[in-house]
């Protein structure tokens, strides 16, 4: 019987690792997403990924899957473990040690295959390991005539829509308290078995009411809040720095600032994150709309002469909206 030898190369198998890794999107934090593929005679004989923190690693699942076919096979992994390596783990406890150990044992190791793709897969994890900081991203929608808008594109909040998928990629979401007031429920990912991010609701003015679903408003809000799992933090200064500091405590790798609702709540946070270079990522939805001017200053708060160029801008189309994601 002839052995079928695939025409695929290291890049192909590494890309497959990334695909597998992403099956656990939103579930592995603070650990990275990792995918593992075992290849023998050009055929994939085993696959696995990190399902969530505390469970066995990707390679365990892949080896179980491959059974005795794993012998003398080649292993591919999106983050430093053993075999062909996408990127070196930026975690100083791990960095290059896996690769070094394999090399010392006389095993040929190829590192840096599909490096950019593997880095993007775990960008929050990589950012935190390299800088010690939580990754901060900003999301907003604008109309074609440049008005910041509370509209979302058709189907955006439904399962598969970009606004349903986005919260899965972040450990926490910062919201205006009016968002909660205006909507029947908290913004929730509709993806199957989605892990919902921590919601951080900002109420800036002194008479702001924090109408969290399931909570009655009023002076007793704080005591009642704790009963339904809401932590109330009262602060003289609501700053991005303070919020990110708070986030490091529960070990959150990534935070999304969702610029919608009452912009008074969020405007200062946007300014601060720009001025202090705290923002790593932007996701803009360009709506297929021309919006009329309204009373509030629905333009982006940015009092700077500077022009910043976005890097690695990735446009995606959802229905009639265009979603642009990029790095600063």
């Amino acid at each position: 019987m002839a052995v079928h030898v695939g025409l695929h190369d290291d890049n192909f198998y590494t890309r497959r690792c990334v695909e597998l890794a992403r099956m656990a999107i939103g579930c592995t934090s603070p650990n990275p997403m990792v995918g593992y593929v075992i290849v023998k005679d050009g055929k994939i004989v085993g696959e696995g990924f990190n399902p969530k923190a505390g469970q066995p690693h990707a390679e365990v699942f892949a080896l179980r899957d491959a059974r005795d076919l794993a012998e003398n096979a080649t292993a591919y992994v999106s983050l430093e473990r053993k075999g062909v390596v996408g990127i070196i783990d930026p975690n100083p406890i791990v960095a290059s040690k896996g690769v070094d150990r394999l090399r010392a044992a006389g095993i040929v190791v190829t590192a840096g295959v599909e490096e950019a793709l593997c880095k993007k897969l775990n960008e929050a994890y990589t950012h935190q390991m390299l800088t010690g900081k939580t990754l901060l991203a900003l999301r907003y929608s604008i109309s074609l005539n440049g008005q910041v808008s509370d509209h979302l594109g058709e189907g955006a909040i439904d399962s598969g829509g970009y606004y349903s998928k986005l919260p899965q990629e972040y450990d926490a979401v910062i919201l205006s308290s009016t968002y909660l007031h205006d909507k029947p429920s908290l913004p929730t990912s509709q993806e199957p078995s989605a892990k919902q991010p921590l919601r951080i609701a900002i109420a800036r003015s002194s008479n702001a009411t924090l109408e969290v679903p399931g909570l009655t408003t009023g002076s007793e809000v704080e005591s009642k809040a704790s009963l339904v799992g809401v932590e109330t933090v009262i602060s003289d200064q609501i700053t991005v720095n303070a919020i990110l500091d708070y986030c490091t405590r529960p070990g959150l790798c990534s935070v999304l600032l969702d610029y919608t609702g009452n912009t008074d709540d969020l405007e200062e946070l946007v300014k601060e994150s720009f001025e202090q270079n705290m923002l790593q990522k932007i996701a803009v939805e360009i709506l297929p709309l021309w919006c009329g001017r309204d009373d509030r200053n629905a333009r982006f708060p940015l009092n700077t002469e500077e022009v910043s160029k976005m890097k690695s801008l990735q446009p995606k189309i959802y229905n009639q909206s265009t979603i642009l994601e990029g790095h600063l």
Copy 2:
């Protein structure tokens, strides 16, 4: 010898007609672009397109190309001529008469193949035939934070760039006079053998100087202008209506309002064209930039409560910019 029968269908050949027709983009106005394909035994044996007004039609070139292979072959055409027809010609002199004549002669005619594509090919021509009016489009660039900007994306003005290709699709372009003042030359398409559109420069304020390259400024501007082929039109009221009226005289099917330079010159025209529903099309460039606020009100002038939804929005990527074209 076996005859090779292609697997292609009517749609395939009609799409090829549209491809051929577009080879004469910017050259056929006020006539439509037309492509013609002759197919025999599943093979294309002849191709042709309308090169420009006054020259033979597409079918003449296609028949020449096919020579004696044209006998008993099937013909495909993007606009009503004979054979498989993309769309019925909206010109009342032609409308359905070609199709009717063929049917009367016992020839089977299929009309409406790839209708949307064929309509889009000659949208200015179609618009003028159906409404008697010149098609009006608006172009502008905005930054990711919603600022209207005079920036153009990298490579946009080079051959193949979107800003070089765009003028080819319009018979005339409306510009701010400061555009001419600031730039070393008029905006010019860099495409090979491009037909340049008529440039209509707006100078609104009483002390505006119209610095056309090759012209000296000053009081003698009008007399000197005529020497270099510039027509000076002095008007109490600069309105879109007046400009489009002027354009019907030289038989221009389509006009592009290029919103750049001194917005004082163009702001009223944009408002008017929205308020009077004169605008058919918008082309927006989303720059990969965050722009600082500047002194002029770099937001889109639109004092309306209304939200208009764009139809058939087509996003294209040029380098890092996203170009969104759509209809109102």
